[in-house]
Amino acid sequence: MRGIISKNFLSSLVLLAALVPYTAHAADPIGQVKTADGPVTVERSGASQPVAIGDHVFQSDVIVTAASGSVGITFVDNSMMSLGPDSRLVLDEFKFDTTTHEGEFDSSLQKGTLAVKSGQIVKQTPEAMHIKTPAALLGVRGTEFVVRADGKN
């Protein structure tokens, strides 16, 4: 019984934590699409729409490339991420103070290939950028690396 209550309590906390930053930051773009080739979509608020160069991206967006798609995004802290084909990237959390350069950038590569170049968040605070894959958690000290996730583990 205790276990059930605490589990419910935990999941409501998780839900709350997921909702609060979303409403707080939903209006602020966190980055902009600079390159796009082939079919690329973004899942936002439950709807999926095509992505074009110049589009802004927001916290909680899910970027998806098809088998012949690729996309490159530059974020407001000057970090960059680009996806190869058949990939799926969730922009879980992005916080950045343009004055102090303090912030946090967490994302999840659920499958596919990703090239990353870290920006001002990591320059100010090493390992304030994390990338989760189904098999591992990466803490970024900067600057460039590539990661592939098979989407199974």
Partner: protein
């Protein structure tokens, strides 16, 4: 002979398993602008590895974090499309101003042209302009002056047809001196705007 067959099957199984695990891969690569080798900390299944040499790899999965080394050719084969999709790296510039004014110094006028060309050559370009002052005058006056300098540069871009909504401006007053000086000290290198094009 059945024993051999079992061994063969086991060996094949290992090969297949290794093949699967290798699909998960992390490789540290040289910075595309300055060649600098950074570092990534990889954690999986309670194991932790710090990749901090060129083309150092980890292949998380199947209970371990196999460290290894890749090379430019293999990275190109696996990550070529993702790397080709990388945006042009953001670039920082500095322009300097005449004392107590939002007028560019004569040297900074041709420098502005170079920044404009960089911005023009990018897809969906954005510009971030941050103004600064030296320590002459009081800090609140310098907050305004630094913002005026940033706005003056923004106007130069807009006058040349750059979309105003893709420019953001800020003034930092005398908070971020390029050259540290005492109060009320004229310093041309501190009278500047920093411009990031991305």
């Amino acid at each position: 002979m059945p024993g051999d067959r079992r061994r063969l099957a086991a060996a094949l199984g290992l090969v297949l398993l290794a093949g699967c695990a290798d699909k998960n891969l992390v490789v540290v690569i040289p910075d595309s602008v300055d060649g600098h080798i950074g570092a990534v900390v990889v954690e999986a299944n309670g194991n932790k590895a710090v990749l901090d040499t060129a083309y150092a790899t980890a292949t998380p999965g199947s209970g371990t974090l196999k460290p290894g080394t890749s090379d430019a050719q293999q990275v190109k084969e696996i990550f070529g499309t993702a790397l080709t999709a990388q945006p042009v790296a953001p670039k920082a510039y500095t322009l300097y101003f005449v004392n107590d004014s939002d007028q560019l110094t004569p040297d900074s006028k041709p420098a502005f042209e170079k920044i404009f060309v960089d911005a023009q050559q990018r897809k969906a370009p954005e510009i971030v302009v941050t103004g600064h002052t030296d320590t002459m005058g009081d800090p609140s006056y310098n907050d305004k002056l630094s913002l005026e300098r940033a706005k003056a540069v923004s106007k130069l871009f807009v006058a040349r047809g750059f979309p105003a909504e893709a420019i953001s401006v800020a003034g930092r007053g005398q908070r971020e001196l390029l050259v540290q000086t005492a109060a009320n000290k004229p310093e041309p290198l501190n009278r500047r705007v920093e411009i990031t094009v991305r």
